[in-house]
Amino acid sequence: MRGLSRLTLPLSQRERAHHRSWLAVLGLTGLVMVGLVPFALAVATVDLEAQVREVASQLRCPVCQGLSVGDSPSELANEMRTLVREQLQQGKTKAEVLDYFAQRYGEWILLAPPKHGFNLIIWVLPFALLPIGAAAVYLGARRWVRRPAAEESPPRDLDSPYAERLQRELDSYQ
């Protein structure tokens, strides 16, 4: 029994040392994790606030003139931002939050009209008109460049008293 205890004692110490090292590792990990919690929370908060700003910037402030919910200092816009934050915290996507407001205020509340139906014209028309505008500019410029030099300056023998007077005055300076 004594021999056995003599044999087992060093093993038990080793086990204890092993346990101690594991405990130390676990403790350290725990400390690191506890230390990381505020950091993770801060990152999550920053991310949430960025999302709130993004959604709010896409909503029209109902009681303002030409301001987004994100930019408006009005009380209603503030309440709307709170609602946006609450809904994002509940797990709603940005599109779902925008839809929530569109369901109550109509598409008017969205600063950028949705890309479907009649609204599509607003998105497509500028691009459709771009080549027409470019062609008009090109044709105008070409016509201007090709205009004969004679057209640019009035003929000297213009039957105009002003032209003659101008010429006389120019001649007097020479």
């Binding site: 009681v63 009380e75 209603l76 309440e79 709170t82 205020y105 109509g106 008017w108």
Partner: protein, 177 residues
Amino acid sequence: MLKKMLILIAILPVLALFAYGLTLDSRSFHSPLVGRQASDFTLKLFDGGTFTLSAQRGKVVVINVWSSWCMPACYNEAPALEAAWQRYRSQGVVFLGVNYQDRDAAAREFLARFRHTFPNGPDVGSKVSIEYGLRGVPETFFIARDGRLAYKHVGEISLPVLVQQIEQLLHEPGGTS
């Protein structure tokens, strides 16, 4: 000649758009909520009680959103609201005042001044206002017996409009009056 025609063709759609805009009544813009079931809410009242919309099912409900700083529209319509309430309360019509972004003392003073006797409560956090797509004060919502938002009136409301809308809802098929 061709140049003039092209300019005219370019200007005409813009003029047509302006003309169309002039024909629109800014007070009758489309609300997507009209025709849909009105959202339920509970409002804590100034007198300490509570008002729950779903508990009014089967009754015509008139919800008026107002503020004491909303001058002169809210002041002008206040007597008409009380008069309509007195006229229709015996027929089971329910009136509710939702006080929007106001100071408690100023709101109570307003109610006392106009001797409003129908339930009124502050809209804390503008929850009801946002839920009902409020774009300014005053606005008045008419809810049918089946819980549907039947009509939304933007701006000052008069007694004839109140009477017309309430009568219409009272005489809707399925009503008791």
